[in-house]
Amino acid sequence: MADLDTFRRETRAWLEANCPPEMRRPMTSDEDTFWGGRNAKFSSEPQRIWFERMRDKGWTVPHWPTEYGGGGLDGEEAKIVRQEMAAIGARAPITSFGISMLGPALLKYGTEAQKREHLPKITAGLIRWCQGYSEPNAGSDLASLQTRAESDGDDYIINGQKIWTSYANYADWIFCLVRTDPAAKKHDGISFILFDMTSKGVSTKPILLISGRSPFCETFFDNVRVPKANVVGTVNRGWDVAKYLLQHERAMISGMGERGGSRPLGQVAADSIGSDAQGRLDDALLRADIATFDVDEAALAAAAERMVDLAKAGQGHPAFSSAMKYYGTELNKRRHELLMSSGGIDALEWESERSHEGARPRAWLRTKANSIEGGTSEVMLGIVAKRILDLPGA
């Protein structure tokens, strides 16, 4: 315990000295997120400084081994770093599917050569990854995917189409599910493979969403040649890797609503609506809804903390991330409904500097995808019913 107290003190002091003040304010636009990659641009000098300091310390991913550019911290220490960052409202130095999704799968299923090739570029923010999972006819029923990988000597030739590929148009590499054995049962003929998005035959087309933005793409593969050495895990056992990665993706999505250090929602509402003489929000029913939301949000934060602690103690249930994904995304949708209600007509403005180009309504609309992407709420409930509750026929 004494060691951890010391570690906490040192962490606090280091963050205090190294996190620029601009990086302690809540994010207000898409530009505030740094994604890394070959074409990465910093939107500000403080963003660059913050990223580079964290990278040099190994804290873009504090709990990964140091040989791959991580911080080599154990679970308790990594938790302290998260807590101390949250305490000062520090932004994540980088947002990266390499960190939140691919990395954990590579650490578990990758060969040493694959880890050494890819992980250091993830921790250093040099390569930006995207995820090739869904297809036009494989959404909730992901395992029915049809993108083919045909053997040709030491390579596979890949043909097919992915959809809802987040930021495929900005990504450098893709981790992708492909069918390597069309004769096998649907879960048994899939492999998990990595390739460069600049490979010949890869093209992307952004999809315009109801938010007016295009975070997702259609991604097309036309005779793309990929070395067989790029398969992660066993050929035709890619579904295991896919599921493992999905647990991490779901944990990440469930945490997307977390807002460390920002103003309470009720105060944001009071900015627009006003308060009565006792300081209570001047809309009793909205106040009640926000208070109930706050209760649930605080409870979810405790559950997220407990999930990590249970996993560390070897007592976690692998399907519990589905439970958290369900609850976290539904809660985030509630948050944005409440933000829209709190803003009233001011939250309806779509194109103006005053509204940061409609930041609030666009964010509200974006959250509607939370309970669809990474497995719908209904699929999550089905997984809980089957794998945790063991209900018949689920």
Partner: protein, 379 residues
């Protein structure tokens, strides 16, 4: 600190669970109810509780107790919640023991705490007056009289009020109802002149009483803590009690849920187990998730009560509000999914619904605690 029980706490849970499930399954409550038992709980079982160190769980070791904390109290309460065991644990071992330990004079502590720990003294906190839990709205009057005070007023929902050997009475010695200043706690002998106790049979068949105070004289020695400054002590004691009741509701919710899922697997209609129907699967999965999230929120509050009692208020409000909402959902789904059987007295599930309703009102319902949280957060 990991949001898990330690090894010692898990062992405590196992021993509490063993004792309670062996000696006080739901049938125990049913029997007490049906026989209109005058005590409302088993004194024999309470003696065993004391022998095992549960009665004095929160009592400091120098006064004969175990000197444990909120997490341990919550562990025991959760097991109590699983079987709905009627027990003096909440009123005597949690609320009263904590109030005496925190506010008692040396003489008060050494007089009462060892007896609580040995199971020989039952105590009750007389606080609520109106239909809803509003501690600061206390209006029972304490007027100075000679060397002491004279009490006038009435209390309701005094848990274990009709069997208590000692009453801890919250009174208003100054200020107006609603004000924080001016509350004083008194130790009152239930046999004192002017005290009238009416046992109220409640929906959940657990103990409660209405108590009126008609010019009840108490001396200065019977003041617990500071005159007019009772709110500070009371706040901490109530938070501990809220954490304990929230734990009871977690145990209750989980038990109802377990019974309901078992029923979904066993009951057949239309030629298959009703648990095969997706409409029920999704509701069951949702309820499971609510319970797990509430469990984490309650443990978070209990740990905060032990590590930073003054800063625990928000976490406790979250825990009690969540536990109330979750238990309410659990028992409603429990009855609905049991169909007609859930409506019968013969089936235990209704006992859980009744107890959940009482737990929800005890020490503040979900609305009360959500509103507290809103006020703490400045809106």
């Amino acid at each position: 600190m990991p949001l898990l029980l330690t090894e010692e706490q898990s062992m405590l849970r196992d021993s509490a669970r063993g004792l309670i499930s062996d000696h006080a399954p739901v049938a125990h409550l049913r029997k007490l109810r049906d026989s209109r038992d005058e005590t409302g709980f088993s004194r024999e079982l309470w003696a065993t509780f004391a022998e095992m160190g549960f009665a004095g769980l929160l009592v400091p070791e120098e006064h004969g107790g175990s000197g444990l904390g909120a997490v341990e109290a919550g562990v025991v309460m959760e097991e109590i919640g699983r079987t709905l065991m009627p027990s003096p644990f909440l009123a005597t071992s949690v609320l009263s023991a904590a109030a005496l330990t925190r506010a008692g004079s040396a003489a008060q502590k050494s007089e009462h705490l060892p007896k609580i720990a040995s199971g020989k003294l039952l105590a009750a906190l007389a606080l609520d007056e109106g239909a809803k839990h509003r501690p600061l709205h206390t209006s029972l009057q304490a007027v100075r009289s000679g060397n002491g005070f004279r009490l006038n007023g009435a209390k309701a929902m005094v848990v274990d009020g009709h069997v208590a050997d000692l009453l801890l009475v919250v009174a208003r010695s100054a200020g107006a109802p609603g004000e924080r200043n001016g509350l004083t706690l008194f130790l009152v002998d239930p046999k004192a002149k002017g005290v009238a106790i009416e046992r109220t049979i409640m929906v959940d068949a657990h103990n409660a009483a209405r108590i009126s105070f008609d010019n009840v004289e108490v001396t200065a020695d019977h003041v617990l803590g500071e005159v007019d400054g009772g709110a500070a002590v009371l706040g901490g004691v109530l938070d501990l009690g809220r954490g304990a009741v929230a734990s009871e509701m977690v145990g209750l919710s989980e038990e109802v849920f377990g019974r309901t899922v078992a029923y979904l697997k066993e009951r057949k209609q239309f030629g298959k187990a009703i648990g095969e129907f997706q409409a029920l699967q999704h509701r069951a999965a949702h309820l499971y998730i609510e319970i797990e999230i509430t469990r984490a929120a309650v443990l978070k509050a209990l740990q905060a009560l032990d590590s930073d009692p003054a800063g625990a208020t928000a976490a406790v409000a979250v825990a009690k509000a969540r536990a109330g909402a979750t238990a309410t959902r659990a028992v409603q789904e429990g009855v609905q999914m049991h169909g007609g059987m859930g409506m019968t007295d013969q089936f235990d599930i209704g006992f859980f619904m009744k107890r959940a309703r009482v737990c929800e009102e005890l020490l503040g319902d979900a609305n009360y605690h959500a509103a507290q949280l809103a006020a703490m957060r400045g809106y």
